[in-house]
């Protein structure tokens, strides 16, 4: 049996718009982080063995 898809009406309710606003906000945050050079900071930490994670830090 196939699932039945009900098409939404064309108005965008606030309930539906909120996730979109969140997506835009977090995309901006990602771009800001990349711009600030955080990607290389994440990389630097992740390629070294973390003694805290192991439990001998």
């Amino acid at each position: 049996m196939k699932a039945e898809y009900i098409l939404p009406d064309s108005t965008i309710s606030p309930k539906r718009a909120f996730p979109l606003l969140l997506i835009i906000l977090f995309l901006v945050l990602i771009l800001l982080g990349i711009n600030l050079g955080e990607v290389s900071t994440v990389m630097e930490k992740a390629i070294k063995i973390c003694l805290d994670c192991i439990g001998i830090g």
Partner: protein, 298 residues
């Protein structure tokens, strides 16, 4: 669908831990993929890990906030918070149900036959305490002489770190054995307690202690993907609760903070068509297939 979800969990676990050169290199993977945050909890110091752990990265950035600012680098975790927020806004806590290796481990261990116990609801709020205290406040405020903080959750709690990094690296690098102290045994004890608890209860680490699950949970009610409960069709038969890997009483409301969107309630439990989901406000209705047990009078 249950088979599909299990396969996706297995493939995701394999991809998150796809560096199988470590027995030769005696070290961890250091390629560019490590700059990408994994969607689930997977320790970046695991010898096979290909991505970086969002919780470990976030704590490191917060712990190094003051020295970074002094050096003119305004790093506050925007990249990591943005990544987690983007995933959360799209699907809420779904990565916990479909992608996280530590989630899969808990589901498999829970299959071991034993008496099973429910986790008191009040304990499920502790993960927010772990998030605020161990990920943000303590790493930011407790600093050493050089203004560096510590990664408190990794250091004192995280059983995934002990299991995926601690245990294998002790075998891989025998020189680390000399550094083992009380802390290592403390973390082993935490891991042991959680493993026993996993046998007895459904996903105890996810429900009680995981700060990553806590972050995703904020988005469950506001994400593009949302669960729907039809209270008119619901008979309160509690089948959804009986089958839910997170022990959620779905009939009390959809999109509760612990719902990992595994869809077990929809596909394997509800015989009355009371459960469905919507994507961007577009309902996807799963038609009820008449089942003998639902039609036969008790």
């Amino acid at each position: 669908m249950p088979v599909l979800r299990r396969w996706i969990q297995i493939v995701s676990t394999a991809l998150s831990n796809a560096y199988w050169m470590f027995p030769h290199t005696k070290g961890i993977y250091q390629g560019t993929l490590k700059s990408i945050c994994a969607p689930g909890l997977n320790c970046y110091s695991c010898p096979a890990a290909t991505g970086s752990c969002p919780l470990g990265s976030l704590q490191s950035i917060i712990a190094g906030l003051r020295p970074a600012v002094k050096a003119g680098h305004y790093h506050f975790g925007a990249y990591i918070i943005g990544t987690l927020g983007l995933i959360g806004s799209l699907v809420g806590r779904m990565p916990c149900g479909w992608l996280c290796p530590f989630g899969l481990l808990q589901e498999l261990i829970h299959k071991i036959p034993s008496p099973k116990f429910e986790i008191p609801k009040i304990l499920t709020y502790m993960k927010y305490l772990f998030l605020i205290l161990f990920i943000f406040i303590l790493p930011a405020l407790v600093i050493d002489d050089y203004s560096y903080g510590m990664t408190w959750f990794c250091k004192f709690i995280c059983p995934a770190g002990t299991l995926e990094a601690g245990v294998p690296l002790i075998f891989l690098k025998p020189e680390l054995k000399e550094l083992i102290g009380v802390l290592f045994y403390f973390k082993l004890a935490i891991l042991f307690v959680f493993i026993v608890w996993m046998i007895l209860s459904r996903r105890p680490f996810c429900r009680v202690a995981c700060p990553l699950g806590a972050i995703y949970s904020f988005f469950n009610k506001h994400s593009v993907f949302r669960m729907i409960h039809d209270s008119e069709k619901c008979t309160h038969c509690r089948e959804c609760y009986n089958n839910c890997p997170m022990g959620i009483k779905f009939y009390k409301g959809p999109n509760q903070h612990d719902c990992i969107r595994c869809l077990k309630c929809l596909n394997e439990s509800c015989r009355f068509g009371a459960i469905s989901y919507e994507i961007a406000g577009m309902p996807v209705i799963k038609p009820v297939e008449p089942q003998k047990s639902a039609l036969t009078p008790p």
